[in-house]
Each structure stands twice: as structure tokens, then as C-alpha cells.
Symmetry: D2
Subunit: 417 residues, 4 copies
């Protein structure tokens, strides 16, 4: 592994907790170069909702490559893109009565967010954006300015401006009414709040510590935006594509955001793809006003299309995600109750789950113990104090139970040291 | 094609000039869904230096996918990444005595630029960056702030600050000494120029109009940066990977930039990959201070590695690129001389070539005529007044001659209308 | 008055409500060019705490001018400045055990604020500042960025950044604990709040609507700043010099801010003068790093010195201000109770007093009625909904009672229309 | 003088070179507390064009104060303000056919500049402003952002943005055509220059080093602004009121700027007063959108009016200023020629004059020698390398000759050391 320390920048992070060299992967399993298998409860930080190298998608991908389907085509029309758009309309947007146009903003989630912010500002003529405490939206300058983590913000090297953080749901544990401060600032012409172009929000904050906003909070936020003529940007990069159950994480709240950001699992196979969905009346771009080299990699369209066909033609995946999520929830409740002195908190919805520990050190130790037992898990939250689970939605019951057992053991090992 | 106009945002651009649906591709040829072939002199805006679906890379890619090699692994260690790093060191960095560490900044060129700007600011504690007239560095907020095009800048929706443009080489046609203004501003403590953290520059501006900086200008810029303790960021996203002949576009100038941005063709096959190369003393990141989901897609590592092995083990590609470039140059000189009244200007170096017309309308008409004759070409420059050629470096002589013939005809057709 | 509408910009404001041409003034009386007298309950928006053309100061001023004392001397040493500094130390700083150094930041309150912000940022190396809802700190770009009023902010023409508003005392009528949100944001490293260099606050917001912060809130704020290593800037431009009773508006709260801004009445006679008082350890300026032409007009030093001697050698003025303030308070309570249907709210402390009406229209009408009855009063608050009293501290009882009577009549006239 | 070092901030500057305590002043003479006289060739950095305590103005001032004329009146209508406006129209604007409306932006020059920038941005909807190398416009955040001096800029504590410096006249000693770079950037839509709302310029840079722009350069700049629809802001704070001969420094260039900033000597007597003159079509302010406590101190109106009447009813002052300026110029030429090895450069126009030395150290030594001989002079320029003369316009010939003699001696003393 010498070449990594010699040649790769110190900015590398995940490899520090998992110091092995991975080679192959299948479903929920990653294998290192010596053939040792690891159960993956991280799933590409939410980019692998359908598991590693999902066989159905894999075949479509190999077929496409083998027949010399166009790989790279900027934003030209291609058969693969057409298939994807038609399938997206048929399987996702149509059935949910979501009237969106699709921007291909670039290869990753940060591009989806940058395009969303640009467009919201262009449409409204305002610069300011409201974000939320512990939000994570990406590492490019625009996306970083609406991200909460102070270490990551500090890396910007310029003051991050044009964003004002508001308290996310349950930030004060119900101690004061939702949006009390936010709405008061909006209504008070002397508040000093720059009038916002948009609000950007995650329905469940993954990096921020598996904070699941209540559905009524999301509905309240959507209503507030409508009342005050503020565009609502829903960043579904990590929580979309079924992570919390329904395809979009906001569906159960009964809202229709003005702009939706998708990436990570939308490509299906882990290949870079991102979408910014916008209400038709917001489609005021000039041709080429936002562009980029990797807007719509065709192999990713192929696997994305196949994933929508296989998993979103019915509600089986959604139901199984909800069920598995509840199973994790009940195990986590047991773990919490088994360690009353540790003040653990079980968090999450669907298959985005976590346990909050008293410190980042504890949560990190649990993940290290799990790694020793062959399970990959990461921490999140401002101080890394939340043990985070983002397993593949396609995980089977045996794997799930095995992972939960390892988690139970690891928590015990750490808390009873 | 109805689904495109119904569902895809008006921001789409290339599809407007080439209103067909592409399906397959091989080498320098793209085929539409009816099987009609187009000779591609655009090559993914420089992302396909080795041609579409290059057979050598294709087999490695299919093999990797077939054997369930890890696809998505964030910045974990993988066998595919190790192979890539070792090959990069062996074939590229080592032989050129370039002592760089590698940052995987995210999937695209804008990520490479954002990481470069962040790091330069962090290292120096200064915010300001010098860019050049007609620069293009990407569409995310940080990259856009150092990009010249006013339409694209206007899309930002916030004032783009922290960047000051300086005249690129030949901006005044030799009418005043290189760097006269820039260096004077640096030396004058009353100049009002914010002290710059870095200069960001392309050795040849592609989007800016195929403006090739003289090698002595690049050397002069590098010297100036050293004298004034300014970091030099060389954006080789479009012009690297052999586009102008040598692997890096700056090699012939005999300089070693502090930071180099690579993307587009580094992945070899058109899959998203980007690198930010940094001098070891600049490697001051905290782990995870810059991160992202798609930092290092393993299938792209596989094709990237294979491309380095196949094309950069010797200097054949470099020599053939130089030779083909000169061939284009001499044909372009003939075209220029054949239309003395049109004041055409032949531009470029290596296989980044262009002809400047009196207006964007004329250049656009030439591209339209070429499309009708089965050739794909785009315009660039602030007003789209430059007909731009970025053919695959692997183009064969017959294709090259055919394309040049079409260009000659198309220019004639437009200028003699 | 034609010359005014012809030659003076539309930005003029006070002259719109009081469309007469004033000529002479004495104590609490202003006289128009026809000799008609107006009782002045506005007192130069707090710049005339000692009344118009106070005889004691007037004589000193005329003497100084008559003997050709230096008028303008930039920041050179002068006898008048020395007298002022010695008197400030002897009468104000020394007795209060306030260890401050004096910056002469320019002629007005905005200069005092600009210097305070600059210094706080220089000392801490941070850009961000916390301000409060409905704050008013001035109209230059730095001061405006921490000011709340949206109309005034809109005039900036550039986005106002580097400031985040927090709720001022009683913003939620006690519905949630003081500083709950602010302190939570500071403690949460994922909150997205840029780490603040300083907090800037008024102990009583005049322009913001005569909002008097509770003393325990001010103490709490000071403690919070100390806990979090944030500099506390107390803007006493309008509320200092005895307006609320003690010389500094923050004295009763038992706090010692890091930086204090003074202007308006510090000159005594209405001549421009401003001070920024800074703790000695903050005095890190380079000579001339902040400068200006009108830093310390000597005639203003003369009247300022005289005012300190005459009014601050004992506590008579302070006691009478408190007493007069209470008299106004009790009259206002009666007014409030006399109009229960109008939901009036009596506000203020010392001789900064107000009555809040249901709308700006109502408050404006009361002021117009008062003007018709020979009393000058203005409105404040985000919608101008607060009738504001800032009478000279030297007002005599007869004048005070006469003014209060007019106010009572005016309120009745408006509310019983 | 102990109280100064104990109580006054280290930011004090002029007092460092002239460590005496001044008491009285008359005309061109300043007297310290021991009665020692100093010939003042600095004149309040241009605030005392009519000399210290000018007798004509003094009498009007004392009369006004004695009769209890209103002192402080915010922006209310007063007799003193009406007199001033009428006189300004009659003596200055009318005869020069300048159709301006008057904004009273606050007490000092920086306020005049802040108001100008605000208005230019509001009118155009653009943020960016073009300033010039070595410009000085003031120390508040908006004014500082267009100021050149790096030490003063560094004091801001936030990045100064929204301004791009262009080369002032003769910056390259005629080596390249005027405005070559500026106009090229404006015409090139890919230049990366943010479209400017305004250009701000001094006709002669005082603080920047007594750089007198050629009249044809000013005319060219004005034409360029008109061609490109950019507002021209002429900062005449230091060079207006006759400093270079005519009332406005730009008159001889035959231009009519869109906005003119006046302060310093406009008050006549050294009392703070500032004006922003704007073309009527720019008068788009809302009432109160820009305001402030010290907009129009009435004693300053009185002295300002008297100064206009006494000195601007005919062209005597203008002619004598030109003549005295030429006298200084010819003496300076002799000095330059007497020290050929020193490479001195005589600079300036009217009574803004300077000699540039090889270093700031030399220029400072000359000023120190002059002080020892009883003459007050300061340095300017980015490194303080210019000995600067701004004598009162009312200086008599004997004083002028005496001062020039001291200068000659002082230069000799330093250069022949």
C-alpha cells in the first residue's frame, strides 16, 4: 500500500478507517485483494442503493459497452438518454404527478446543487439562500456555502457568504414552534435577513447525523416557502432513489419542491450521474448557460434506466425498504435500552439509520470494532458522534441480521470496555 | 425526439446544432439511430483523445466489469486505483521528473479546479486569484469565478469575486511587453490589486478560441509567479493527455506548475475522472477536508491505466499528434490564403486547431455546412467566431484528410455564398 | 422653498414631515424663519442631548473661534484635543473604571462603527459579525451590512454579507430562552454559522423601534461573548452620553464591552465628532491604517469637553434623566390604558421613549398631529409604527409637560377619528 | 503629551512626524502651545484651501453662532442650507452649466463616495466598479474597496471585492495607448471583467503621489464611459474647490461627470461637510434610503456659503492659484535640475504639487528637515516617496517664497548628506 501514502494526497479519508485494498464486490459484499469479504453497510455513502455490481444492471451495461453504444456524448441526443428520460417519466414522474423538466448538471451531486442554486438566483434575482444546521450539500464553492460542517467550510479559503443557516427540525427538541425564528425574520422588514431566493433542505440529513425531519415539518417548510414566495430546493442526492422508502424522500410529506437534486444512486451502478429536476416555469436558462463535459454518461443512463425498470415498476422495493428499516429500528431500540447509562439515541427512517453516541470517539470505536468483525460502517454528525447505516436496499435478510448482530457486539464491546 | 423537448431543460446546447439521436460510436465515428455515420472532429470536447470506445480500453473495461471488480468505492484503496497510481508514476510523472501528489477531487474538471483553488487559498491564506481573458475553467461557483465568458458568468446569480483578469498572451498582438501590467500591479503597493494566492492558466485556451500561448510566455508567467511567490495552477483539463503533443501541454515550455488540473481524457474512455496534481509541500489538507462521492470511479481507473500503458509507454502518440497537427496547420494556411478577403486566422497547436472568422455567424455556418456533409465540429471564442477542431489523437490519415476536405468545402460554401 | 425641491436630492426625508424652514434654535425650541417656535422632542435624533445651542457650550465655542484656536488639524496633537482626552479620562472613563484607548475614527457614528468592525476583524482574523434584528448602525457599506432595515439595505447595491442577524431581546416575547439559537449555533460545529469576530449591539434600539434590552439580557450577551471568545461591540452612538440615564447605556448592566462606539451627542453642540473606545489589548493598528480628514474637529473638542465638565462632574443629569423618563413612562401608561382597543405599547428607558401603534400609518398621523400643534417627533421601527421621543436631557419640566399634553391630544385625535 | 500616548490609539499618524501640541492658527500659520509658528504647506490635507480661520468666514461663523442660528438639523430645511444651495447654484453650478442635484451624504468625503457608489449601483443594477491604480477614496468599507493602498486595504479585515483597478494616466509612461486594456476588456465578452456600474477617478491623485492626469486622458475616459454606458464618478474631495485652479479639477478637461464628490474645503473653514452632486436623471433614491446624523451642519453651511461668495464670484482665486502653481513648478524644476543624480521628478498642477524621490525614506527625511525649519509638509505615494505640497490657496507670496526656500534647503540637506 506504499504507493497510496507516497502518491495520494493526505486528504484521503475512508481508507484510513479501512486500511485494506478492495478488489471485487457483489451485492452487499466487498472483497479485499486477499479474498476476505466485508459486509458493506455503507454502500458508497448512498450511491449503491441497488448493491454492488447488481447483476441485472451489469448485464445491460456489458451489452451496451460490447455493442459500442456511445459512451461520452456531452449533452447530445442519444438513444440511451432517450430511454432514460422516457423511463424516468413513465416510472417515476408520471405516476407521482410530478411535472418537472430535467437538467443534466454534471456528473455529481454537487453539480446538481450548483445548478439548482444558480437557477434559483437567476429566476428570482436574489442572491441569498437559506440552509439548515448540519446540512451537507457538497464541496464545490456554491454547494459548500450552504453546507454546515465547519471543517469543510474552513477549506474554502474564501468567506462563504450568501447563506444563512436556520434550525433544522428538532434542533431544539420541540422546545419552540417550528419556523418561529425563520418566519419572524421574513415578516420583519427590519430583521436584517437578506430576502432569500431559495431554501435548500434535505428531508433526512445523512452527513449531518441521520436527522430525519418530521413529515409535518417538511410540509410546514413547503407551505412557508409558498407563502413567502421562496423557491424550495430539495436535495435528494443521498436520500432519494428509495433510501427512505419511497423513490423521493419527500413523498410522504405530500410536498412538491420547486427543484429537486438527484445523484448518487440515480445511476444505479455507481457510475456518476446527476439530475436537477425543475418546475417547467423555472426553465429560463439560455442554451449552454450551464454546461459541462460529463453531463450524462451513456453507460450510466443504461444502468439508471434498467434500475428504474427493475425496481420502480411496482412498490416492492419501497415496501421492503420500509420493513427492513423498521427491523433495524427495533434492533436499535433494543440496543439503546440495553445501555441506559450511555444515553444512546436511535435515529433515522427507512434504510438511513443511526445511533447517536455521547462522543465521536465512541461512535468511531464502534465502527472500528465492526470493521474488525467484517462490517463496513461510517460515522456522521458534526463531531462524528453518530454511527451511520446506509445498507444496500437490496440487502437480504441474512446479511441484514448478520450485520445487526455485529453492530450489537461492537456496541457492547465499546461500551463495556 | 419529442421527449427531449418535453422533458429536457432548455439549457441543452450541443443537440441544437446536431439534431439527430446518436446510438453507437467507434474511433472517430459516431452513428445515429438510423445508422448514418458522422466523422467526429469534436471528440467529447477533448474527453475522447483516444477515440470512441477504443478497443484496447474496451476489453479491459468489460473484463473488469465482468469479473465484478469494485465499481464505486469513494476514496477507499482499491486494486484498480493502485494500478492507476503506479502507472501514472511510471509512465507520466517519473519520466518527466514531476514530483506531484495526487488529489482525486471529484468526477469532473470543475472539481479539479475547485480543489486547486481551495488548496491554493488554504496554503497562502489569500483569497484573490489571477485568471486570464477568455479563460474557461468550469461551471461550479469557484471555477466559474475564474472563467471569462460573460454569458456563463451571468448565470452565477451572485457577483463573481476574488478573481482579476489579466491579458492572455497575444491579447494586444505584441503591442506591449508581456506581463507589463500584471507585474507592475504586483510591484506597486498602491495598485489596488488584492495580493493573489495563485494564477490559473491554460497553456492553450480551447473554449476561449483556440488561443495558444507562446512557450516563452508560459515560461515568463512561471518565472513571474516564482518571483512574486504566487502559486501557478495549470488547468490541463482540456489540453492535457496529449492534446497538443506532449502528455502535459506545458512540457515544451520547460515549466513545473505548482498545481495541475486533469480530467476529460485522463479516464481514457470518456468515463468521468479528474485529478489535481499538487507539489508535495502543498499537501496540507486535513483528511476529508475536501471530499465527494465520485472521487475515483474504478472502471475509469481501469481504462485510464490502460490508456497510459498503451499510449504513453513511448513517444509515438506524441509524435503523430505533432505531425497531424502540422498537417492540419498547413491545410488551414491554404484555406486562409484561399480567402484573403475574409481575414481568416489559423490558430492552435498539436491537435487543438481552429480558424477564426470575422463573426460567430460565419463560423457557425461553416460548422452547419460541415454537419450536412457528415462532420461534427463546434465553435469557440467569446462570440463563437472560431471553428474549432479537437479530433481524436488516434484518428487515421484517411479520416483526417476526409475531414479536412469537408472543412475546405464548408468554408468555401459559406464564404462564396 | 423651491430651491430645495429643485436642487436637493429626493433622498431628503425629515423635511417632508416638517415642511418649514428653520432658522434659530435654543434649548428645546426650534424656530422657523417666520419666528414660529416648535418644541423639539427629536433633538437631532439624539445628537442634541444638551439641547440646541446650549449657552455654556456656546460661550466656550465662540471664545475658541474668536481666539483663532485651531479648527481643523487632522489627527495632530492640539490643546483642545488634550483637554478633551484629559476630561474624558477624568469625568467618564476613570470613575467608571473603564480602561479604554480612544480612536478618532472620523466625524460620524458610521465611522465609529466602521473602525470597530475593521479592528475586530483584524484582531481576530475572522470576517463574520453577529448583529441583531432591527439594529441600526449606519449607512456606509460596513455599517450598513450590520443594519437591519431592508429598505436601507436595499440601497447598498451590492449583497451585504459577513453579517448574520440574531433575535434581539424580547423578539419572541419571552417565548424561548435568551440566546438559545445563538449559543446552539456557536457550539454546534456543523451549524453552518461562520465563526464570528464580534457581536455588535445597541443596549436600546432607537431606530429599530425604541426596543430596550433588559439588563440581564445584556449581561447574558456579554457573558456569552466571553465564553465563546467573541468581541463585544456596543454601539452607543445614539443611546450614549446619558440618553438612558447613565453616561453609557450599558452601565446598569454591569458589563464592559470590548469596543464602544460614540458619536452624536459626544460633541455636545451638534458638531460632528465620533469616538471608538477600545480595550488596550486591541490597539493593534498600524499608524494611519485607519485615517480620515475629519477625525477630531477642534471646536467639537471644545464643546465636548465643556459638556463633560458641566454635566458629568456629578450625577445630577443622570438622576434627572431617570426621573423625567419615569414621568414620560407613567404618562405613556395612561395613554395606553386610555385606548385599550388600540393595543398601544409603551416602550423605552430613560429619555428614549416610544409608543408602538398598530401601524406605521397611525404613528405617522400622531406625529403629523403633533407637528400641527408645534411639537417635533419622529417615528421609528421597521414599519415606522413607533412614535419616538428623544427630547433634550436638559428639557425643563414645563416643556416636558407641554409636550406630553400635545402627545396625549395627538394620540386622541388620531385614535378617535 | 503623555495623555496622548496613554489614551490615544496607536493608529494616530500625523502627530508622529510633528510632535508638538498645536493651539492657534491663522491663514497659513499654525502655532504650537509655546507660540512657535509653523508655515503650513499641508492645509488639512486639502481641507483648508482658504487658510486657517479665514477672517471673512470666521466673522460669519461667529455671527451665526452668536444669534443662535440652528446648529444641527439633520436634513431639515434651514435658512443656512437654503443660502448655501442658492449660492452654490449661483456661483458654481449655474455659470459652469452643470445640471446637478445635491445629495448631503454625511459629514466627510468617504460619505460622499459611499453615496456615489450606492447610487451608481442602484441606477445600473450592477455591482462592479472600476478604480485606478493608486486611487484614494476613503476608509469606510465601500470607499476602501476602491482605494489602492495595500496597507489601508489590509485593515479592512474582509476581502475587498467588486472593484477592479485599471492603470491611471501615465502608469506606463506613455508606453502604451490610453485605455488599451480597459476598453479591450469591455469589448471582449469573454474577458472575465464584471460589467462595471461606474468608473471612479480623481483628476489628480493626491494621496497616490500627486499624479496629475492629462486633460486629454480625462476626456478620453469620459468618452469611453459614455460609449460603454458606464457612469463616471469624479472624486473631487481633495482636488475640488479650486485646488488645481478652477473650482472643479475636471473643468479644463471639458467633461461633465455623472457624479461628483466634494468635501474637505467645501465647508470653507475646516468644518465637516460633504456633497454628492448627481445628474438629475440619477436621482432615484427613496426618501431616507441614504441618511445620517451629520448631513449638513449649519455652521458649515454658513462658512461654505461665505467662501463661495468671497472667492468664487470672480476668477481671481483661480488665476492666482494657477500663477502660484506655476511659480512652485518652476522652483521645483530648478530643484530637480540641481540634483541630476537624484532622479527627482516634479509633479502636479495648480497648488497640488510634489517632488518624487527615489525612496520614501528620502522624501520623509526632507519633510523632517522642513519641519525642523518650521514648515509642515507630508509625503504621499504608495511608498511615501513623494514630498507633497497642498498650501492654502490664499497663501501670500512672501509665505510661498519662504516655504519654497525651506524646501530647497531641506532637499539639499538630505541629498548632500
Amino acid at each position: 500500500m506504499e504507493i497510496f501514502s507516497k502518491l495520494e494526497s493526505e486528504v484521503r479519508s475512508y481508507s484510513r478507517g479501512w486500511p485494506v485494498v478492495f478488489d471485487r464486490a457483489q451485492g452487499s459484499m466487498l472483497y479485499d485483494e486477499n479474498g476476505k469479504g466485508y459486509l458493506d453497510f455503507f454502500a458508497g455513502a448512498g450511491a449503491l442503493n441497488y448493491g454492488h455490481n447488481n447483476p441485472a444492471l451489469k448485464q445491460a451495461l456489458i451489452d451496451y459497452i460490447a455493442r459500442d453504444g456511445v459512451t461520452h456524448a456531452l449533452d447530445m441526443f442519444t438513444v440511451a438518454k432517450r430511454d432514460f428520460l422516457e423511463t424516468l417519466q413513465e416510472k417515476i414522474l408520471g405516476p407521482r404527478e410530478l411535472d418537472y423538466k430535467v437538467v443534466f448538471p454534471g456528473p455529481g451531486g454537487a453539480n446538481a446543487v450548483e445548478a439548482a442554486l444558480k437557477l434559483a438566483r437567476k429566476v428570482t434575482g436574489k442572491e441569498s439562500v437559506i440552509n439548515f444546521t448540519n446540512a451537507f450539500h457538497g464541496m464545490t464553492l456554491g454547494a459548500l456555502s450552504v453546507t454546515g460542517n465547519s471543517m469543510k467550510r474552513g477549506g474554502a479559503g474564501v468567506p462563504l457568504v450568501h447563506a444563512t443557516p436556520m434550525p433544522y427540525d428538532k434542533y431544539f427538541d420541540g422546545a419552540y414552534p417550528d419556523f418561529l425564528y425563520f418566519e419572524r425574520l421574513l415578516e420583519d422588514s427590519g430583521s436584517g435577513l437578506n430576502e432569500p431566493a431559495a431554501v435548500i433542505v434535505e428531508a433526512l440529513q445523512g452527513e449531518g447525523g441521520i436527522n430525519a425531519a418530521r413529515l409535518e415539518w417538511l410540509k410546514g417548510l413547503s407551505d412557508l416557502c409558498e407563502r413567502h414566495n421562496i423557491l424550495l430546493i430539495l436535495d435528494d442526492v443521498q436520500m432519494g432513489c428509495g433510501r427512505t422508502g419511497p423513490f423521493f424522500s419527500f413523498e410522504d410529506a405530500g410536498i412538491k419542491p420547486d427543484i429537486v437534486c438527484l445523484s448518487k444512486s440515480i445511476g444505479g451502478y455507481g457510475l456518476p450521474l446527476a439530475l436537477t429536476l425543475i418546475k417547467p416555469e423555472l426553465d429560463v436558462w439560455e442554451p449552454g448557460e450551464h454546461n459541462g463535459t460529463f453531463r450524462g454518461i451513456n453507460p450510466a443512463f443504461v444502468t439508471a434506466t434498467e434500475a428504474l425498470r427493475v425496481y420502480w415498476s411496482d412498490d416492492k422495493l419501497e415496501q421492503s425498504t420500509r420493513a427492513k428499516g423498521e427491523r433495524i429500528g427495533s434492533v436499535f431500540d433494543e440496543i439503546v435500552q440495553a445501555h441506559p447509562e450511555a444515553n444512546l439515541v436511535a435515529k433515522g427512517r427507512g434504510l438511513a439509520r443511526g445511533i447517536e453516541f455521547a462522543s465521536g470517539e465512541l461512535a468511531g470505536s464502534v465502527c472500528a470494532e465492526a470493521f474488525d468483525r467484517g462490517l463496513l460502517m461510517e460515522t456522521s454528525g458534526p463531531d462524528g458522534e453518530v454511527m451511520k447505516l446506509l445498507p444496500a436496499l437490496t440487502i437480504n435478510d441474512a446479511e441484514l441480521e448478520q450485520g445487526l448482530e455485529i453492530i450489537g457486539e461492537s456496541v457492547r464491546a465499546v461500551l463495556t470496555k
